[in-house]
């Protein structure tokens, strides 16, 4: 199984450890993982702002980089949601359609495709609060949604439940957006910050030592908010825990 590893720009520049953990984790399962070196971004920052024309070349580049793999895997629900559900600035050729359909977020790839049922190397003896990115939650169906009448499930929680020592804490508003929202975090910084403060207080009040998420973008925002509030809250990507990080 040939896997193309997509490491979104935030992770590449600010959280390379998340990309490394994702690569190593996939390699633990004996997969043939390649990182196409000409990759940049999926185009979401532009389309998020309505600028589809400005996004088309970036989307085309993404498809050129990832054509031919059995699966494209990325440790980011938000970016994968863009590729799979919204990448329509570029002309929809067969290659584009195939790449879009084969692109998976790491959690769903482990849960639905590899059907991993054990991470014997993983141990994380801490109290953690799980943050679901909104695109991962409501766009990729990572978990059941509190607004809908549907049976409860959570793919990231299923995976984390297989990590020794990990203890979940539960926050008051689990599905509430943290206020990152891509370019929203900049164009409407006041509301974005307030939402972030409320979110990290919710984690903190629940007794979390760590916030874990499948999305670095939300966590970058929340971490910035927690640091500004002088909270001792720590943030870690789910790939790192599943790959055996202890802290």
């Amino acid at each position: 199984m040939r896997i193309g590893l997509f490491v979104p720009c935030y992770i590449d520049a600010f959280h390379p450890e998340v990309g490394i953990a994702t690569l190593q984790l996939l390699e633990r399962f004996g997969l043939d993982v390649e990182y196409p070196r000409n990759q940049t971004c999926c185009g979401q920052p532009m389309t998020n702002t309505g600028c589809h024309a400005e996004s088309a070349a970036t989307e085309a580049l993404f498809v050129r980089n990832f054509t031919g793999y059995d699966y494209v895997v990325a440790p980011s629900g938000s970016c994968v949601h863009h590729v799979r559900c919204d990448m329509d600035a570029v002309e929809q050729t067969d290659d584009v359609r195939q790449v879009r359909a084969r692109t998976y977020e790491l959690v769903e790839f482990l849960h639905d495709i590899l059907k991993v049922d054990a991470f014997p190397w993983a141990e994380f003896p801490h109290r953690v609060s799980l943050h679901n990115n909104c695109n991962a939650l409501r766009g990729l169906n990572h978990a059941s949604m509190s607004e809908l009448r549907e049976p409860a499930f959570s793919k990231p929680a299923d995976l984390l439940a297989r990590v020794r020592g990990l203890e979940f804490v539960h926050i008051q508003r689990p599905d509430e957006c943290c206020g990152f929202g891509g370019t929203f975090s900049v164009f409407e910084k006041g509301v974005s910050e307030k939402m972030g403060y409320d979110k990290v207080r919710d984690h903190s009040n629940a007794g979390a030592a760590y916030v874990v998420s499948a999305d670095s973008s939300c966590m970058m925002h929340q971490q910035g908010c927690a640091q500004r509030l002088d909270m001792p809250l720590k943030f870690i990507h789910i790939a790192q825990i599943l790959n055996g990080a202890r802290a």
Binding site: A13, I20, L23, Y35, R37, R138, S144, F184, M220
Partner: protein, 508 residues
Amino acid sequence: MSGAQGSDLNRNPPRSGRLDHAEGASVPLHSRVREAQPRGAVINGDQPINQAEAAERFMAAPEHERMHDARLWDLRQKRDRQMHGITEWEDLRRLASEIKEHALTHLDHYLEQFETNARANGIHVHWAQDADEHNAIILSLLRDHGVKRLIKSKSMLTEECGFRDFMAESGVEVVETDLGERIQQLDDEAPSHVVVPAVHKLRSDVADVFARTLGTDPNDDDVHYLTEQQREKTRPLILDAQAGLTGANFVVAETGTFVVCTNEGNADLSANTPPLQIASIGIEKVIPRLEDLPVFVRLLSRSALGSPITQYTSHFRGPRRGGELHVVLVDNGRSERLGMEQFWTSLKCIRCGACMNTCPVFRRSGGLSYGATYAGPIGLIIDPTFNRHRYSSLPFSSTLNGSCTNVCPVKINIHEQIAGWRRVLAETHELPLMKKAMMREAGHLLSHPALYRAAIATADSALKHLPRFMVYNRLNTWGHGREVPAPPRETFHQWYAANRASGQGEPS
């Protein structure tokens, strides 16, 4: 799947010994300090509304923001509890959506059917193309009947039409009969929410308004006192009004009747006290059959307030003996919206306000920050159809988190339409030039790997360039209330080159 319950994470069990709906289950909220009420968006002709600026002012009044967020979140939680009590909830939403889509795609047929049947019931039916026609029709009816005072119940359509201001200019006194709407009228402020129009106000704000307009004690903000005072002052105005105006929640084509849902019974007061009754109704309110109605009645109040049903669900079938009943069917942009391929399903909206209650941006901004008749998620997709330039920034007042779509009882894909509007606005040159230029630059950088790599090659340049497209050319915008992430020694790209030999070629 039936009987499946949401996870314990997501549910608050009903409090024992208290009613599980309506006010009985509300979290009692007590505001701690007296604080001046923040006002809404600055309106400057057709200049784009700056929602973010008004939101900042709302949040600068922390007691107002805290109470607003808590009150609306409480409504959302009660809505969730109601949902869990109805096994077929998702089927109801699907059915409601399908009935509305059917009615909207056969709108001419059902409107004409309604008109015919309503006339047979003795109802006078008028058609208004726009707000001006609507206002003129009603004014002429009032003049024909020598009406000096009109009592009215809450109606978002009349807000669309600028009805109260028009009547004031025309010398007709209008008295709102919905308590929240009356508060807003006395304060000369628009409703901030389609269901709870004064939810952005604290009790102390209401005490100020009543002291100023009704002569109550400014230091007494007891809700019973304030409500009683308002009742005593307003009731005489209601009893000798010569005409009453209501909106309608639903119009039933096969029976030629319409239905108004309220909790205060005030629509009945407006309709049944004076001899002349008028109903202003948007053309999208029509449903085909009476048997379609229960689907909506079951969803409406559960979605809006988390109560099983409104206290009053009043069916109006014809004029009272000796009276007259007029219905004004209003288009005011609806036909044009119906022709918009991406946005026509916004006409399914039954104005429950669930999208506002769940919206994390709305809860922290207040409805008046949108500077438009319709606030919150539904407003973001309706307002630009009224004035694309003035409301061009509103679709950006969203994180696109999608909760609004999930709570919508008629399954409008609200967050997708918000994203759709962003694209339309960009394509029709309604984006600020600076924003557009930054996106063009980001698109250029991100589609040229070598340029991109050079831009973020070192930690310093990454901080300079990466946030440049990420945070719109101003590092201090990100850093205003958040710490900027520390860039690590090397990018993943560099680590990969050093640690995995078998990668593909270097950037071309």
